[in-house]
Structure formats: C-alpha cells, structure tokens
Amino acid sequence: MERDELYSGKLIYVDNAASSWPKPRSVIKAMCDFMEKACANPGRSGHRMSIEASRILYNTRNELSDLLNVRDPLRVVFCSNATEALNLALKGLITEKDHVITTALEHNSVMRPLRELENSGAQISILKCSQDGIPQAQDLENLIRKNTKLVVINHGSNVTGAIAPLSEIGKITRDAGLLLLVDAAQTAGCFPIDFERDQIDLLAFTGHKSLLGPQGIGGLVIGERVDIERLKPLKTGGTGSRSEYEHQPDFLPDKYESGTPNTVGVAGILAGVQFVKKRSVESIREHEMKLTGVLIEGFEKTGGVRVYGPKSLEKRIGIVSINIDGMPPSEVSFCLDREFGILTRPGLHCAPLAHKTIGAFPQGTVRFSPGVFNTEEEMTTIIEAVCQIARRG
C-alpha cells in the first residue's frame, strides 16, 4: 500500500543493496515531524525541544540495541554512514605495529582504509573465499600472527550475496583473543544479527539500506571488549558534555560523536527500525529470499546468463549478480532501465577483489537486489526482460 503511493509510473526498483527504496511512509513522516516540531540541538540545551531531540537519539540507540542484541544502548555510536563507522574502527584501533586479517570479499570501505594503514606499516592478510564467495573460516587460524589485533569481515557480500560464516569466525577470533569487526551494511535489518551470540566486538551499520532509513546516517556498535582508551576518535569537538574542559570526553558515546548530529536522519532510522521490528527480520528475510529464489531459478533457465554466488538460498541475502554472455554489464543495466523501467546496478560495486574471486573482473556484474516492497510479479517481469536482452546478445 505504502509502495503504490510512492511509485511513479511502472518502475521496478531492484537496487536496494545500494540504497533501499521506497521508504516506509512512517519514516518520511517521522523525519517531517522532527523538522516541524522538535528540530532543536540535542544535548546542547535543557529546554523541552532539545530534550525531545536527545530522546530521539536515545530511543534509536535503544531500538537498535534491541534489534542487534547489544546490552548497552550507549554503545551505539552514530556516524554519517557505514564507511565512516568502519574508518573509525580501523583507523582508531590499528597502529603501524598491528596485523589485521580480512577477506577477499570486502567492500572498498574496508579495503581502502586497510591499504592506507598498510602504507603506514600495518600488515594485512586476506582470508580466501570459495568461488561462490564464502570466506573459508577453517583457514583463519593459519593466518593469525603474534601481532594480529583484529579480524574484519563483510557479513553479507554486496557482490555475490554470500553470507559469511559469522559464528564460526566469531568463535575462532574470540578463542584467539582477537577483536572481530563486522561490516553489516548489507545485513542489518534483513538478516538476524546477534551481537553477543556471534561474539562480535565492533559492528558497522548503515541506515539507508535494510533499516529503511535515509542516507547519511549509520553507526558503529562498540562492544565491551574494546578498550575505548585505545580507540581514537576520527574527529574531536563539541559534544555538549563536559563543556568546561578543553579535552575530548573519554566516555561513550560522546567520545566519538563530536559536532551536531544528523538528528533528522536518526529520527528516520528510528521509524525504519520500528517498521523492521514490526514486520520482523525473519519475515522480511523470508520475503526477500522468496523473490531471490524466483530470480535465480529464472536466470538459470535463461540461455547465455551466468549467475554468481552460492547455490543455496540459505547461504545468501537478497542479492543476485549475473552476466549475459557477450554484453557488458553497463549495457545490460542501461537496457533494463531504458526499455523496461527496471533499475539495477552494473559494474564492480566498489569491491574489485570480490570480483576477482568470482571471476568477474574487470567488467563486473549486473546486480539485482530485491527489497521488502518488491513483488513476485515484478521478478517475473525482470526474468522476461533479461531473457529478451540475452536473446539479442
């Protein structure tokens, strides 16, 4: 219902892995309400509007903690996106003496900060993945060195849709006394995450994908095993707390939240998380995987189409990457948009190494990522469109 009101024309939007659309009506309303009624500076004054803005921040931390099973809401630190959260964790923790293990599936939001740290002396090892894009957890132990500090993994690949074996990696990492940083950009809101059970120490999330909020807001969950004295902030400045001191506060979340926050964005995430919780992550996953199953089955029956990623739906999130023989992904994506109104993403999806792993470098793939508001009927239309394009190719 919400979707029909928002869709204009006959677009089929299947680029939810880049940014989800449409947004629930409640998200748009919450953001408008904040702008109209409570748009004061949180934590900077004691009047009712400022307190209301502060409450929105706290309530959102609280809802996110509940969704991800984090014990203390004040351990949820807001950032401008998952990239900033990952930069905070990596640059804040890793020194030139440290060794970090990551996987061959990482997005550039992890690879680029790591390569930058490598230039300053840090050592990086890359855990190999199977060709369908699953990190081989059994090889992790062999990569651990005396100076290994952190393991960083992409929970759900934005290229193949493959899910990393989180609890297995979490156990090995915890047993070795290391910290585990999880990039949950593609999974928070559409795949069950349990911060405690999966033995996660740091988790980066974004608001604008499966949490169904706006762009420009995300965050980092900082677990109890992380020594915040040793986690440097990316920026310092005004926090509204301890204003009489010229030094940065040393407590959570203020240490990492300098400057006026994106409160309207947080208000959007709050409504998004509430929408997700009402529907339940499990039922959203069930819906998205049903659509993903239809797509994969349809594509596999289509001559000249190659489907990447794990065969089993249980090992995937709602992302399907394909290539049509003899056609560049950008051309396929352009045809889908121009002729059929089907909106996808072509190319490398900011993850060159992941494409090398699956054998789709440098051309990339065409990526379909259905979301909570897509329908089975739309998937059938997509398969027919891809069939038509493949026949021409």
């Binding site: 004054s45 004691g46 502060s54 409450r55 706290y58 301890r242 204003s243 009489e244 506060p249 203020d254």
Partner: protein, 81 residues
C-alpha cells in the same frame, strides 16, 4: 532555579551525569522502574555545563541509586536543589 524548593516547600534532589546521553539512559531506566523522576536543566548554581539532570523526591533516593547502579550508569553527584 535555586528558589524552586522554597516555592513548593518540598525538597527535591537531583542526580547529575556526565552527559545528556547518560541522562537520557537514566530517564529511560528510572521510568521503566516506575520511579517519580523528571528530566530538567542542571541548575546554574550547581554547574555551568549545559546539560540536563534527573530530579526526584528524597524518599526514592535509595531506589534511584539502586536502578542507576544496576544499569551501570555513572552519576557523579546527588544533591538537593
């Protein structure tokens, strides 16, 4: 507002926190525990900081302290206003 206690004739206590974020968590857990608390600006004669604090009647002091400790919320002072 130093005159508030005199005006109402009833003494009130306030708990002070390091940040508004911690005061928000305090408000949330104390309300969940059904304690009669109110969030208010920190009186200027107590601190020059721009934050908020939690106000409550003296007879619930012990319960307030207990709930804050249970939830590991640091407060650095409980004082009358």
């Amino acid at each position: 507002m130093p005159g508030e206690a005199d005006r109402t004739g009833e003494e009130k206590l306030i708990a002070l926190f390091r940040s508004t974020n911690e005061a928000m968590k305090a408000e949330s857990v104390l309300k969940e525990a059904h304690l009669p608390i109110t969030l208010r600006p920190v009186p200027k004669h107590i601190s020059s900081d721009c934050g908020v604090c939690v106000e409550f009647p003296p007879d619930v002091r012990e319960n307030v302290v207990l709930v804050l400790k249970e939830n590991k919320i640091q407060f650095f002072e409980i004082t009358p206003i």
